[in-house]
C-alpha cells in the first residue's frame, strides 16, 4: 500500500500539474499496487508521516504566500518527513517554500528553512530572451539519475541562490540563478525542479526511476513497460 498526498492541490496547480499525481496513481495501478491518494490544503489537519509520497505543485505569487503561511506551521513535521527518506516531489516555485527566505518585490518572507537556499523575485532580466519580470520558456536538461533527457516548461519569477545539489543540469535555458547550469534541487528523496506542468507524464523515464525506488523501499516490485507516454516523449524529441 502506498499513501500519496497532493498538498495544496487547489492553490498550487498551474497548467496541468494535477496530472502529476494522476500519473503516479495510474502507474501504480498498472502494476497492481494498492494506493491511496488524499487531496489536502491550507488549514486541513494532516499527519505528514502517514504518507510515502507528497507532491506540491507550482503557484501564482499570491497563492504561494497563502501556502507559505500554512506550511510554516508544519515545519517540524516536514523536517521529520524528509529526514526519514520519504518522497517529496516539488514542481515550479513550490521549492522556494523549503529554503530560508523569499525576497519578493515588496517584502522579505521567512520560509521553512529546511534547506539552505534562498529565493529572490527578479527585478531585472537574468536570462537572455526572458522578460524582466518572468522567466518563461521550454527547457531541456539532463539528470544524473537517468540517461534520458528531461523536457519541460518553466514559467517563474524567481531565482534561487546557493544550490549545490541540483536535480538537473540544463542544456537549454533556464538554471536556478543564471550563474551555472544547475537546475532544481535534490537531497535524500526530495526531487525539486522549476519545471511546471505535467512533469511526470512528459518524462516517463524519470517517473520510472522515482516509482521504482519508492516501490523498492516498500518491498514492492515496479515493472517498467513501453507505454504511450514513452511514445509521446520520443515523438517530441524527434519533432522539436
Amino acid at each position: 500500500m502506498i499513501n500519496i498526498l497532493h498538498l495544496y492541490y487547489d492553490l498550487l496547480n498551474l497548467y496541468g500539474e494535477n496530472a502529476n499525481t494522476r500519473c503516479i496513481c495510474e502507474e501504480l495501478k498498472r502494476n497492481n499496487i494498492k494506493y491511496k491518494i488524499d487531496y489536502k490544503s491550507i488549514n486541513d489537519k494532516i499527519n505528514l508521516l502517514d504518507y510515502d509520497l507528497i507532491y506540491i505543485g507550482s503557484g501564482q505569487e499570491e497563492n504561494i504566500k497563502i501556502a507559505l503561511n500554512d506550511i510554516l506551521k508544519r515545519k517540524e513535521d516536514f523536517q521529520k518527513y524528509i529526514d526519514s527518506n520519504k518522497y517529496l516531489i516539488l514542481t515550479g516555485n513550490s521549492m522556494i517554500l523549503f529554503g530560508t527566505e523569499i525576497k519578493t518585490l515588496e517584502e522579505d518572507l521567512e520560509s521553512l528553512g529546511i534547506f539552505d537556499y534562498n529565493t529572490e523575485y527578479i527585478k531585472e532580466s537574468t536570462f537572455k530572451n526572458a522578460s524582466t519580470t518572468r522567466i518563461v520558456g521550454e527547457i531541456k536538461a539532463h539528470s544524473k539519475l537517468i540517461k534520458e533527457t528531461i523536457i519541460g516548461f518553466q514559467n517563474r519569477c524567481d531565482i534561487i541562490h546557493n544550490i549545490n545539489s541540483p536535480l538537473l543540469e540544463v542544456e537549454e535555458k533556464y538554471s536556478n540563478d543564471g550563474t551555472n547550469k544547475n537546475e532544481g534541487f535534490k537531497q535524500k528523496n526530495v526531487y525539486a525542479t522549476h519545471t511546471i506542468g505535467p512533469l511526470l507524464i512528459r518524462n516517463p523515464y524519470l517517473t520510472d526511476y522515482i516509482l521504482k525506488n519508492l516501490c523498492k523501499d516498500k518491498g514492492l516490485k515496479f515493472k517498467i513497460e513501453e507505454t504511450t507516454s514513452k511514445k509521446a516523449y520520443k515523438k517530441y524529441l524527434e519533432n522539436f
Binding site: G197, I201, T228
Partner: protein
C-alpha cells in the same frame, strides 16, 4: 503644429502602407508617436470611449456592441482589424480624426489586450470598460491569471464605469476599491452547469479573508455561483442576468425580454448578456438593444458545415492554450445529439510564438467525451501521442481512438472506419489540410 504633423503623418503612412499591400493598422501610429509622444492626449475624444478586455470573448463582444450602436444611428470608430496594441490604437484614433485633432465619431470602441491596456490608458481615459473573464490563456505571453488580473486592475483609472462578469471571481474582484460606477452581469444555472469541484483551479479562495469559496454550481472552470462563507466576497445578484437559458435553441431571457443568441455556444450567452449590460450602462433603451439582437441577419449567422461522403462535417477552431474556451467547444460538440466522429489535433501550441508547451491539455476535461454518441476520436498532428495518452487517462475506450500520423490517409480512414457526423477541432494549419481533403474528395 506638432499635433498637425503627427496626425498627418499617421494618415499618410497608413495610406502608403495600404497602397503597398500592407495592412497599415499599426505603422502609422508608430511614426505619429515618434513625432509627438503625447499626441493621443491632445485629441478631442467623443462622449463615449469604450474598452472591452478579458481572456476570451473580446472580439465577439466588440463586434456585437459595434452592431448594436451603429444600428441605433451612432457613428462608431473601432479596431476592426484587431490591432489592440498602443500603436494600433494610436493609428485607429488618428486616422479617424480631423487634422485639427478631433475624433469624428459618437463612440470610440476598442478591443484591448489585457497586458497592453495600461499603456493605452496612460493617454486616454475610458468612460466604460467591460471585462469578460480572466482565465488560463497563452502562458508564454500571459504567465498566469493573477498576472492578467493585476495588469487589468492596475490599468483602470478612477471614474471609469466598469461592466463586470460577476460569475468570474477574478473579474468580480476588480470592483473592490474601484472608484467609479459598476454594472454587473452573469448567467443563471443551465444545462451546461456542473456541480463538480474538480476543475476550479484558479479561484478557490476568497481574495479578502482566504476562506474557501462555496460554489453552488460551476458553468465551467472557476466561473459559476459562489459565496465566501464569511460574506467577505460574493457573486450576489447580477444587475443583468441571463435566465431560462436554452443554448441549443439559441434563446435566453434578460429582464423578462426574450433575446436570441447569434450562435449555440455557452460563451455566446456570456458575450450577449455582457453587451446588453454595457448598452444599458450607455443608457440605450431595451427595445433599441433588442431590435438589433433579435434581428434575423444576426440571429441566423450560420456555422460552416461541409458535405463529405454523404455525411455532415462541421469545423471548429481549436482554442489551444485556453483550457476553458477549448472545453466550451467540446461541450458544444457533445450537446449535438447525433452519433459523431471527432477529429482533434495540432502541430504547434501557438501561431504567435515558438514555445510548444502542452500542459494545457491536462487542464481540459476530455473525460466528458465518454459518451455513447461519440463513436470515434481521430487524433492527428505532431502531438497525436500526447493526445492519445490524454484520452487514455480520460478513460476513453481504446477501440474508439484512431491515430493518424499520415494525413494523406485520413480521408480513407474516415470513410472506412468511422461513423456519424464529423466534427473537427484542430489548429489553423491542420484546418487547411482538412479543407483540402474535403475539396479533393468531393471533386473525385
Amino acid at each position: 503644429m506638432l499635433k498637425f504633423i503627427s496626425i498627418l503623418t499617421c494618415k499618410v503612412v497608413n495610406k502608403l502602407s495600404k497602397l503597398t499591400g500592407h495592412e497599415g493598422s499599426v505603422i502609422g501610429g508608430y511614426w505619429a508617436t515618434k513625432i509627438d509622444k503625447k499626441i493621443l492626449k491632445k485629441i478631442i475624444l467623443p462622449k463615449y470611449v469604450i474598452g472591452i478586455t478579458g481572456s476570451s470573448g473580446k472580439s465577439s463582444s466588440t463586434e456585437l456592441i459595434y452592431n448594436i450602436l451603429t444600428k441605433n444611428g451612432m457613428k462608431v470608430v473601432y479596431n476592426k482589424e484587431g490591432s489592440n496594441t498602443i500603436n494600433g490604437i494610436t493609428a485607429l484614433i488618428l486616422n479617424n480624426s480631423s487634422l485639427k485633432g478631433s475624433l469624428k465619431a459618437d463612440v470610440l470602441l476598442m478591443e484591448l489586450d489585457e497586458q497592453f491596456m495600461k499603456k493605452v490608458f496612460e493617454y486616454i481615459t475610458p468612460t466604460h470598460l467591460m471585462i469578460t473573464n480572466i482565465t488560463r490563456d497563452q502562458p508564454p505571453r500571459n504567465s498566469h491569471p493573477e498576472k492578467i488580473y493585476n495588469a487589468i486592475k492596475n490599468a483602470i483609472p478612477d471614474g471609469t464605469h466598469i461592466i463586470l462578469n460577476v460569475d468570474d471571481p477574478l473579474v468580480n474582484r476588480i470592483r473592490i476599491n474601484h472608484k467609479g460606477a459598476v454594472t454587473t452581469y452573469g448567467i443563471e444555472e443551465n444545462d451546461y452547469s456542473v456541480k463538480t469541484t474538480l476543475h476550479n483551479l484558479d479561484a478557490a479562495y476568497c481574495p479578502i479573508c482566504h476562506s474557501k469559496l462555496e460554489y453552488t454550481f460551476y458553468h465551467y472552470g472557476h466561473i459559476g455561483s459562489y459565496n465566501c462563507p464569511k460574506y467577505d466576497f460574493n457573486r450576489g445578484n447580477p444587475d443583468y442576468e441571463a435566465k431560462e437559458i436554452d443554448v441549443d435553441n439559441q434563446k435566453i431571457k434578460i429582464k423578462d425580454n426574450i433575446v436570441h443568441l447569434p450562435s449555440p455556444f455557452l460563451y455566446t450567452v456570456y458575450f450577449t448578456t455582457g453587451c446588453y449590460a454595457l448598452c444599458k450602462a450607455l443608457n440605450l433603451k431595451d427595445n433599441d438593444i433588442l431590435k438589433v439582437l433579435n434581428d434575423e441577419t444576426i440571429k441566423t449567422k450560420r456555422l460552416t458545415i461541409y458535405d463529405y461522403d454523404n455525411r455532415k462535417w462541421q469545423m471548429l477552431v481549436s482554442k489551444n492554450e485556453n483550457n476553458l474556451s477549448y472545453k466550451q467547444s467540446l461541450d458544444y460538440i457533445k450537446h449535438q445529439k447525433e452519433d459523431k466522429t471527432i477529429i482533434l489535433g495540432f502541430d504547434s501550441s501557438s501561431r504567435r510564438y515558438k514555445e510548444n508547451d502542452i500542459s494545457w491539455i491536462w487542464d481540459i476535461d476530455f473525460e466528458s467525451l465518454n459518451d455513447e454518441s461519440v463513436k470515434n476520436i481521430i487524433l492527428i498532428g505532431k502531438f497525436c501521442y500526447d493526445m492519445q495518452l490524454r484520452m487514455q487517462y480520460a478513460g476513453i475506450d481504446n477501440n474508439k481512438l484512431i491515430i493518424v500520423e499520415n494525413i494523406d490517409t485520413l480521408g480513407k480512414i474516415i470513410k472506412e472506419k468511422t461513423t456519424g457526423k464529423i466534427f473537427s477541432m484542430v489548429c489553423f494549419d491542420k484546418e487547411i489540410e482538412l479543407k483540402k481533403i474535403i475539396k479533393e474528395d468531393n471533386n473525385d
